[in-house]
Amino acid sequence: MHFFELLVELLLMPILAFVIGLAMVLMMRRIGARIQRRVGPPVLQPIYDIIKLYSKETQISHGLMHEIGIIMAVGGYIAAETLLPVPGLDGLADKGGAVTLAYMLMIPALGMALGVGQCANPNGSIGISRALTAMLAYDIPFILVIFGVSYVYGTTNLAEMITIQQQQGVASWGIVQMPLLALTALLILPAIMGKHPFEIYVAPAEIATGPMVEMSGKFMGGLFVMQCFQLYTAGVIFTTLFLGGGLYWITFLPKIFLVVAIPMSVAYLFPRYRTEDVLRLMWKWPMLLGLIGLAVVMK
């Protein structure tokens, strides 16, 4: 029965996402290490980290909202993954398209923000303020990208986008049809993932890791899990929009890893941007590219 199949899909999708996300975290760390001429962590390090965090003795909770915040952060991503079609698993892709997904992804962010707020640590609040500002910075070009892609494919349904790209071959891939928009998306990808060089909101030396300042034990563990989802989601969205998604995991996985790896490797070369510089940067080049890209595709 379809319903049962769907249920299995819904269960499977977050688990897959989590596993792939873990691998991505590992890859990121390895790339970072290589650029800094270090060896980098062993393969199972991310799993060790999570186990370690969840089994810590000292776990300070600052109240109910602190806990709910973490739950929202993880749960929101778990839900969001079911909207992301991957090979063989469409999940809920037809129940809510790209726009829904974009807004679903704000729920974990909001959860984290609320949790951090409850901690009453000024550094945490400052971090959230910066993170939200950064979101304002990258979401504007991001939304341009989503609009352009939806307009070109004539749908906001991600599964349909994949079908279109798969059926019509590489020439119909988003990256070929709208290279400028793809470039825009690539530029803002590190910011969406909250990674280098747009991580002023954690700035350990300045605001003591910002939102993470009061996170200990499983709270931190929750955020770690969230990070896995985050990387995975970013990779899959870009792949779906521009790289034809994937019919088979064998072609799909390299794409998403590549998508995450490329901007990361380049981004590691840059120093951290200040908040207002993030705004300035995001509203200048990606916006410009995005608008030109839109003008091209809408012509």
Partner: protein
């Protein structure tokens, strides 16, 4: 007696009861029950909301100046009346308990408050029932002055803001009157139908004049740009639940009239034909752009507010832009989104105002820099506000998301990237701003003076919780509201949106039942994952460290003022108060003219010298 007669009669009786018994302890509850009765009377006409009934006439009608004045309800009126009465009910409920007693103890006249609220509801119903352009104007004026009354109740500062409001509103009303009389001059009747028939033959110039006049008239009430200055301050200073009521529905009357006259009678398709010379734009684009700027500018003004009520009120102005945008786009998605947003917005805006007023009730301030950490003290209020801000920001799973999604989707279908971008910029600003709101009030450090604060009384919490339930349920099952909007779409003659209980069935549709369910399940799994970890130790709210130092309760470490310094560093200089300057410029112009005229009257001689010479020369020539 038709159902509409009953409704208006009950509403009038409510007004009488409010005036007679408003001051007594039971008076408020009595009035609240009367609102419930109004709701019941409205439900007698619920066929309007489900397209099984097209129109309910009032048996009351008079003939003035050889004009037959008519009152009737159609689906649009019914939909707006539902929101109006709902807002009245919840606000009156909210006001009837402790809030009212405190208001009275502080020297306020509860009789006047309930009276003004009932008058507002009554006049809005009269406006919604208007059956021709003249009754529309009469209702319009009634509504304007009724809201003036409730705004001015607080006295002091509120007088100034109410005065500003009425200056705007009356000028707008005069523009409207000009427009309506122009229609009369062109069409020869105030009848809706004859206007509709005459529109195709009207010249473009006349139509432009009409659209400008009418949009200005309606726009003042909606507070669209550039008439947005009055609203936030006036609403914010309205006493207690009055602010919630005004915020929820009052300026929606402008939208109602806009829909009736511009969308229904003149028609968006006619607007598309009206090109602006030397540009690629037409009248529809112009309106859409006004709507987008109405979204962006007030939202970012809201971001800078320090007062919770002002912040919400400014968002109210911004949210109007979404409704107008959706309705101006006028395809099935957009108009449904715009209409649905009216309902959704009313629910969460009323609730948010109620929370803020509950906070004021308990702490005595709505200054965002003087609050904090109230989550542990007022958890239910916090929950209501959380639901409200998720709705206001337009995130799933609340109803605000659905209406905004519809509007976004309509813009994608319409192929208007810049409008879309503007709408999203507004949403992002809203997210920033509402986080600041909830953070500064409920999260962070609890102030020492607020340690003893208790949860708001039940008379306040219950309406909030009910509204929160509405916000969530209509987000879960948007079909409930979409049924009504579809009836409205059918009745005003725009394409009807095909929908089901969960949302919209189309290519790239939306099914909120699935989305919300999966979100809830996701949260469930999140909880599971969370409790997999070891036991956490709950520390006291005031047990805090920063930079290795213990922070005592006396130290103010709540990060609240200038919450987004990075952003303000960049966009701060863009706040130039240009519209304030414009307003002041206009006032000084009138003032200068006025001084000149007084001078003219004081120095009589030169003027009649001129006249005498003219007259004399004239008669000399003749004789």
């Amino acid at each position: 007696m038709t159902a509409l007669d009953n409704l208006l009669l009950i509403s009038a009786v409510t007004l009488v009861i409010a005036v007679l018994a408003g001051n007594s302890r039971v008076g408020g509850w009595l009035v609240t029950i009367m609102y419930a009765l109004q709701g019941a009377a409205l439900m007698m006409m619920s066929g309007l909301g489900y397209s099984t009934l097209t129109m309910v006439q009032s048996s009351f009608s008079i003939e003035v100046l050889s004009q037959q004045l008519l009152w009737r309800f159609d689906a649009l009126s019914w939909f707006f009346a539902l929101i109006t009465i709902g807002a009245g009910l919840f606000c009156s409920w909210f006001a009837s308990g402790e809030w009212g007693e405190k208001y009275r103890d502080n020297g306020g006249s509860l009789r006047l408050f309930h009276g003004a609220l009932a008058l507002n509801v009554f006049s809005m119903l009269v406006l919604l029932a208007s059956g021709d352009l003249l009754t529309l104007f009469i209702g319009w004026e009634l509504v304007s002055w009724a809201s003036f009354l409730i705004m001015a109740l607080a006295g002091g500062k509120a007088f100034g803001y109410a005065m500003r409001y009425i200056s705007y509103a009356f000028a707008g009303a005069m523009a409207l009157l000009g427009g309506l009389l122009l229609i009369y001059a062109e069409v020869g009747s105030f009848d809706f139908q004859s206007l509709k028939e005459a529109v195709p033959t009207m010249s473009s110039a006349t139509l432009w004049l009409l659209v400008v006049l009418l949009t200005a008239g309606f726009g003042v009430k909606m507070a669209i740009l550039p008439f947005h200055l009055w609203q936030a301050k006036a609403y914010a200073e309205t006493p207690g639940p009055g602010a919630a009521f005004l915020g929820a529905i009052s300026s929606r009357m402008g939208l109602f009239a806009f829909i009736v006259v511009i969308v229904q009678l003149i028609g968006i398709s006619r607007l598309v034909e009206m090109k602006i010379p030397f540009t690629f734009l037409d009248a529809q684009d112009l309106l859409a752009w006004i709507a987008v700027f109405t979204i962006i500018i007030p939202t970012y003004i809201a971001l800078r507010q320090h007062d919770a009520r002002r912040l919400l009120a400014w968002h109210g102005v911004g949210q109007t832009g979404y409704m107008l945008l959706g309705i101006v786009i006028a395809n099935d998605l957009g108009s449904a989104g715009g209409l649905m947003h009216v309902f959704n917005y009313a629910t969460y805006q009323a609730m948010l105002f109620m929370v803020v007023i509950a906070v004021i009730h308990r702490t005595g301030t709505s200054n965002l820099n003087k609050l904090g950490g109230l989550f542990t003290r007022m958890p239910l209020s916090y929950l209501a506000m959380l639901v409200g801000i998720i709705g206001l920001a337009g995130l799933p799973p609340m109803n605000g998301f659905v209406s905004k999604w519809l509007i976004y989707r309509s813009l994608i279908v319409d192929g208007s990237p810049l409008l879309f971008l503007g709408a999203v910029i507004g949403t992002l600003g809203t997210i920033l701003s509402v986080y600041k709101l909830i953070h500064n009030i409920f999260l962070g450090q609890l102030r020492v003076e607020h340690v003893a604060v208790r949860e708001a009384p039940l008379s306040m919490v219950i309406p909030m919780m009910l509204l929160a339930a509405v916000v969530f349920v209509t987000g879960y099952f948007p079909g409930l509201v979409l049924d009504w909007t579809s009836a409205v779409q059918a009745s005003i003659g725009i394409p009807v949106l095909a929908h089901h209980l969960g949302g919209i069935d189309m290519k790239g549709g939306l099914d909120m039942i699935w989305i919300v369910s999966v979100l809830l399940v996701g949260f469930g799994f999140g909880t599971l994952v969370f409790f997999l970890g070891g036991r956490s130790k709950r520390v006291h709210q005031l047990d805090n460290y920063a930079g290795g130092h213990f922070l005592t309760a006396e130290t103010r470490y709540h990060y609240s003022d200038n919450f987004y310094p990075g952003l303000m560093h960049l966009i701060g200089p863009w706040y130039r108060n240009s519209f304030e300057w414009l307003e002041r410029g206009l006032i000084s112009a009138v003032d200068t003219l006025s001084t000149a005229m007084q001078g003219l009257y004081r120095n009589a001689h030169p003027s009649y010298l001129l006249l005498a010479v003219v007259v004399f020369a004239l008669s000399w020539v003749i004789v």
